[in-house]
């Protein structure tokens, strides 16, 4: 851009504003990593806990310990991204991050209160997740993720009707359809 001494006509001013707004738009970054990474981690945990309970392992829930290293990897990836690529933050990106961090906190906290809700942990987490997934889909303007949110909602409600064991299977299926599939579609779209 040229120096400030140059006078602008009103039309030039408007054109400039328009072009700059366009530059700032469409800066939502490819965050398919999180969908794919967490999708696989959670599917592994659900299938693992189903298998362990089938072979009468005493603590089938132990498999959920894998989310601890997963959180660490996720945070490390996030801070590395911020260091190397982050140059702007849009308000929507902030909302999206807040949404998933809140979901993460709930997903960790809810299991500790399992006894209060008759151990209906899987449906509760799927239902909370359906909100986050749906909102993310709207934020990214990405239809498969919106559909994913609806899938979570349907599977979440269905979970109330089956035993804890089969809830794991249903959850794994819900995550595959509602999270992993949109994640791969998002990734392929960005390339």
């Amino acid at each position: 851009m040229t120096n400030e001494t140059e006078k602008l006509s009103p039309q030039q001013s408007l054109d400039l504003i328009q072009s700059m707004i366009n530059e700032a738009k469409g800066n939502v970054r490819d965050n398919s990593f999180y969908y794919l990474f967490w999708g696989w981690v959670l599917i592994t945990a659900h299938l693992g806990s189903f298998t362990l309970s089938k072979i009468d392992f005493e603590y089938p829930f132990a498999v959920w310990l894998i989310v601890i290293p997963a959180w660490i990897i996720s945070f490390a990836y996030g801070s590395r991204q911020r260091k190397h690529h982050k140059r702007t933050t849009t308000h929507l990106e902030k909302i999206n991050i807040t949404l998933w961090v809140s979901f993460g906190v709930l997903a960790v906290v809810i299991p500790f209160f399992g006894s209060f809700i008759n151990y209906q942990i899987n449906p509760m987490i799927l239902l909370v997740g359906s909100m986050a997934t749906l909102a993310s889909g709207v934020i990214l303007k990405f239809k498969p993720l919106i559909i994913g949110g609806i899938i979570f909602f349907v599977f979440g409600l269905s979970c109330f009707f089956v035993s804890n064991e089969y809830q794991s299977l249903l959850s794994a299926l819900a995550i595959t359809l509602g999270y992993l599939v949109p994640g791969y579609l998002l990734k392929s779209q960005k390339r």
Binding site: M1, N27, T89, H91
Partner: protein, 93 residues
């Protein structure tokens, strides 16, 4: 009736910066420099002017060993921008 245009905003580079920041939560110096296609020296001067007027907030930190300047628009800046666009409308009609 033509309304007077805010001289602080009625400059190509400063208006460009403000338009960019309006749509973003924050943006760093390198991003602004690329998008406005300006020189570092000129951009730096104009950012200081906007900051002195309270239209933007400048935060200086470090990214590793490199200095990092992050800018964001203030409420006062948004108000000024709105007034500017409203004044602009009186010219277009």
């Amino acid at each position: 009736m033509f309304k007077e245009l805010d001289p602080l905003l009625h400059s190509q580079l400063r208006l460009g910066i403000m338009s960019l920041l309006l749509g973003l939560d924050s943006a760093d110096f390198v991003f602004l420099k690329e998008k406005t296609d300006s020189t570092a020296g000129n951009l730096s001067v104009q950012l200081d002017k906007l900051s002195e007027a309270g239209y933007i907030q400048i935060e200086k930190s470090f990214k590793g060993k490199k200095p990092l300047t992050t800018c964001r628009i203030t409420k006062k800046g948004i108000k000024a921008f709105e007034d500017y666009v409203n004044s602009l409308k009186t010219y277009i009609k």
